[in-house]
Amino acid sequence: MSSGVIDLSVWQLGLALLLVAAVVAVSLRQALGLERDLALGAVRTVVQLYGVGLILAAVFAAARWYWVVLILVAMTAVATHAAVSRLTRPLPRGYPIAAAALTVSTVATLAYVIFVVVQVRPWYDPQYIIPIAGMILGNSMTSAALAGERLQGELHARAAEVETRLVLGFSGREAVQPLVRSALRAAMIPTVNGLMTVGLVQLPGMMTGQILAGSSPLVAIRYQIVVMFMLAAATAVGALIFVRLAVHGYLTPAHQLRRYLV
């Protein structure tokens, strides 16, 4: 077994590009009309990944905590935007809510994994913190968007049910609790299913990458186990904070449902 990685030359990347060229040929032949998007997509893939690679190389070389924090802040901002724009209905105060949910879930989970579980020294070692933060943010973002989408759908469909509870003297929080529960379940089910099927249906990307990079599969699976548990926590915390803050925007302190929003 060889350790280390085969470095890819520009020519080898060019050979990989032939795969996209084959898809373009199919698209032309079948009149799919996807050639322009395929070409643009291929260019964007190269440009975006080279851009990220150059930035990460610079941050790795500098190994300063403030550069690492800046990268994490930028990643959180992008994830916040992505989570909010995935919602089909506008959410009152959507950006601050998503930013708060993603920041808290990422910082809390990341701190536990970096300081307590993996015990990375120094903590800001970009080789660990950036890929781990990326996985946490990506999953928190998806679960927050899922939870938000479900919550809005539930509020729309079940407004009369919420008001029936209010009429009976329940607090606003109690009145929306069944809807909150349903939104949280919707957000967490993909993570729970992931825990069930990991390794059976597909090998997770990080584990694959680690093995490609020369790690023993037994080392790689230990990291993957940590990652799975970490993502379970991150998605739960992210969805919980997001839904709690979001539902608050639909209620008033006088235990009223803002009907014109739902």
């Binding site: 008001e163 029936t164 509870r165 009976l168 003297g169 329940f170 607090s171 006088a254 014109y260």
Partner: protein, 258 residues
């Protein structure tokens, strides 16, 4: 005859000496802000009335005239943009909305029952709810709305529209409210079920002396419930002859029918 003499354009009863009216509404307005391409909407404008204990008030008007919104302001499900609602002399903004809603029970137009039996639905209460929720009381309250004791164990999903509406009235009554707000209690029902619900409400008014505010676009209910009627058009109280015309039209139609 008594009912007819009272159903006029007057919107207030003569106050009893020394007692606060159950509701005193002063220049109430409600508007929704503009959102998502929808313009701002004025729902109620400068609505005022007083309602004494044990009396009935019927809100009449075309759909979209603000009848439901006015009821929802009385138990503070909606927040008025201007004006005040006083319940037994106190501004409702100074009361805990959860307590207010237990005193002023609203029965909505489309009955909402939750999964489970009728008993489950009748027992759905906040943890701090006080009152008698014993089996005997449940059976008695069901009898009050014309349903028998066996209904308790029925799956709420299998009830007819009229039965559902009466269960929601029973659920409201179990909280021992002082006022019953009925939003179009009969509009979703066929004539026999509507008649049953009207009977139920009349009995409650007589037996409990309960203060009732009902909205309807059916003149029949106004006439039978007695008390005062208030005509709303586009969120404003109309004191012109349109209400009399509305009721006269109904009486004329009845005259032709008989």
């Amino acid at each position: 005859m008594h009912a007819e003499s009272e159903t006029g354009s007057r919107t207030s009863n003569s106050p009893k000496a020394g007692a606060d009216p159950v509701f005193a509404v002063e220049r109430l307005s409600l508007a929704y802000p503009a959102r998502r391409g929808q313009p701002a909407a004025q729902i109620l404008r400068d609505v005022s009335f007083r309602l004494e204990r044990g009396r009935a008030l019927t809100l009449v008007g075309p759909s979209g005239s603000g009848k439901s919104s006015l009821l929802r302001c009385l138990n503070r499900l909606e927040e008025p943009t201007a004006g005040t609602v006083r319940f037994e002399g106190r501004d409702i903004r100074s009361l805990d909305p959860r307590r207010l809603r237990r005193e002023v029970a609203l029965v909505t137009q489309a009955p909402v029952l939750f999964e489970g039996t009728v008993r489950d639905n009748l027992l759905l209460r906040p943890a701090d709810a006080t009152g008698d929720f014993s089996e005997a009381r449940l059976a008695r309250t069901l009898a009050e709305v014309g349903l028998d004791e066996q209904t308790l164990d029925r799956d709420a999903g299998t009830l007819s529209g009229g039965e559902k509406q009466r269960v929601t009235i029973a659920r409201a009554l179990l909280g021992d409210p002082r006022v019953l707000l009925l939003d179009e209690p009969t509009s979703a029902l066929d004539p026999p079920n509507a008649a049953l619900v009207v009977e139920t409400v009349l009995r409650l008014r007589e037996a409990r002396g309960m203060t009732i505010v009902a909205s309807t676009h059916q003149p029949e209910l106004v006439r039978r419930l007695g008390g005062d009627a208030m005509f709303l058009v586009k969120g404003e109280v109309r004191t012109d002859q349109r209400l009399d015309a509305f009721l006269a039209g109904e009486r004329a139609a009845e005259g032709l029918a008989t």
